[in-house]
Subunit: 208 residues, 4 copies
DNA sequence: AATGAATGAGCATTCATTCAT
DNA sequence: CATGAATGAATGCTCATTCAT
């Protein structure tokens, strides 16, 4: 239908603008200029700016759900190995995000709501943490503790991602400070999880 | 100094408000009401609203850096095992975030910039993905593929965090679609990393 | 003619909407929804929204004029008493308004242009004035000054109507404050007019 | 207080503009231009445009109430004649409206909400009705039925005011057509009320 | 230093009117 | 004739920032 096409066109423009400049730094004026439509036309398709945003994400969510059920059909659950099953899941999740960088940015809350200079302030901390982990990994490789064939950058991001997500989940959602006990438990679990895949079997330094 | 105390008081109020309602939904009016100061006073301590925000994060960053160097001193690098070293790093990162839920929220871009109803639209996708992984893990445990002693919720968040971070890093920062090859490579690395810590040694089903 | 019928249908809908929600709170969208016609169709029958409104009143005015000339024919001016003549005039005026509550509201400027909550603010003053007059009349009846057979509510409205109309005519149409002399003259005339019909012959209180 | 003075200044400007161009044809821009203040300043004193309007009327109402209680004190209720009492009431009501032509216009719903050209369409009907009554009165005077000393224009407005108010009260406030019975009853009461004050004792025409 | 009244650029949204089909 | 998608000028309101006291 032609009406749907127009709506889609607006959504594509908005998605790019939201991802690039953030929700609050994208004005209706920007969207209609980009979409080459008149001001009033925008409001024929969306009730508010907010409506557009929510529609965008709702759409994305539906797309993801559809992808999931499709994915299920591809697998022969009786014969697949656990490793392949895991691999499959990971691949499909990545593919989903890889497919649309703009929605990826929006969903991952990058560039959402903050002007790029302020965004930078936030990213710096993440980057620094990642760099620290990278350094640690390199050190571990040099000392023959960590498998030398791993991709340092990727692994650092992987580990940082876990830690940030767990912080968010366990410390950020509430409002009160978390207890030391929580931290210890989480620390232990994270270590258990990463150790086997990350480290070589440990050889205590030969003393002489 | 008294001046510093006043500045600190403003920052504490702002931090809480930013974390709770987002940068754009926190007005100067809110901050000065909360901090019990006059409008003009605010501008004696900060040049703009943006300045306050950046100062807040800069502070946080310095705090983190200080924590890091402190941490280094605690360790006797000659005798510590690699596992303890890793554990140490993880613990300190978690502690840092656990210590200040408001800054945690801000840094992790939660509640930043979006009214809570729109924020919900975003969180849904993350939650759904996490739930899916949780289901997979439970299935794996039932089928004796996954170690039964793991914490399902924690592990799901850990895995999801990795995947989201990698998506962000490899697909979100640029603007062009990513190649299939990238996805395959990342998939493989993620699988390699998690497999040993997550799965029991695989026993192919006995055929009869 | 079919065209006239359609035009009439639009006018009926608009009349009801204007009377109920006011001119400015009635949108073209409301009218066409109610009249079940398309947006463009409206503009085939009326040049503007204003045109519709003016047409509506023009129509009403013509109707009234027609009613007047008709009325004249009913009377035998040679034999009718002055009282019947007056009664006749009053009856026909009332009938005219009684016949179409929507046009009545519009002509009497009720519900024109203001949202109902603001309209309320205006009505309150009128209501309070009327209530005050009602109280006075009741008092007069109790003291045997006013004929006990009158309809209090009706009479209060009648008197208030006169006063408001005279205020409007003598004080509202111009822009400058009116002189005290005007007020005195009008007061005297109003008193003269209402006194004979409203009051019993006055009996000065017996002194002892 | 200075703050009150500023608020008062805005209200005075708005009152004049509302009365002259109507609520909907008075823009915030007009008000602030007239009051020589900035856009934002307006919103320091009033929450909305509507708020200003309601405040204006609320003020007027309070003024009226204060006037009423004051008025009560002036009267010696034990000695005043009913006629003087009535005269007093009428005078004070008129004085109230005479005092502020702008608020008079607003309260009487003139110039409220409609551009002056449309307002004209409405006024025409009122004017025509008044003219008709004037003609009747002159006729009555010529025929020696009506007292020759009355003020024709004033009396016509007085009678029209009553009729319009009664129409409004009995036919306009509801939405359904009124019954013929209502009209007859009102007609009779109006005639009874005006007849004694308006007409000379009727002399049936001498027949020969 | 502290205050808070004043400022005005900026923005989302509305709605009468037009015009291609 | 009828339609309804498109238009864009107009408007109420927000809010970061300034500045006189």
């Amino acid at each position: 239908m032609d009406k749907e096409k127009r709506k889609h066109q607006i959504m594509e423009c908005a998605k790019r603008l939201f991802a690039t400049h953030g929700y609050y730094n994208t004005q209706i004026s920007d969207i209609i200029r980009e979409a080459k439509i008149a001001r009033g036309t925008f409001y024929r398709y969306f009730n508010h700016k907010k409506d557009l945003f929510v529609t965008l994400l709702e759409n994305y969510y539906q797309q993801w759900k559809a992808g999931i059920s499709l994915e299920a059909q591809e697998l022969d659950l009786r014969t697949i190995t656990p490793e392949d099953y895991f691999r499959h899941r990971v691949r499909n999740s990545l593919l989903f995000f890889a497919n649309d960088p703009y929605l990826c940015k929006i969903t991952l809350r990058m560039g959402l709501g903050l002007p790029s200079d302020m965004e930078g302030s936030i990213q710096r901390l993440e980057t620094k943490i990642t760099e620290l982990i990278e350094k640690d990994i390199k050190l571990g490789i040099n000392n023959n503790h960590i498998r030398p064939d791993i991709d340092v950058e990727l692994t650092a991001n992987l580990v940082v991602g876990s830690i940030l997500r767990l912080s968010y989940f366990y410390f950020g959602l509430g409002e009160e400070k978390s207890s030391r006990a929580d931290v210890e438990r989480i620390t232990e679990k994270v270590t258990e999880m990463f150790f086997p895949g990350l480290f070589l079997k440990y050889q205590p330094p030969a003393t002489n």
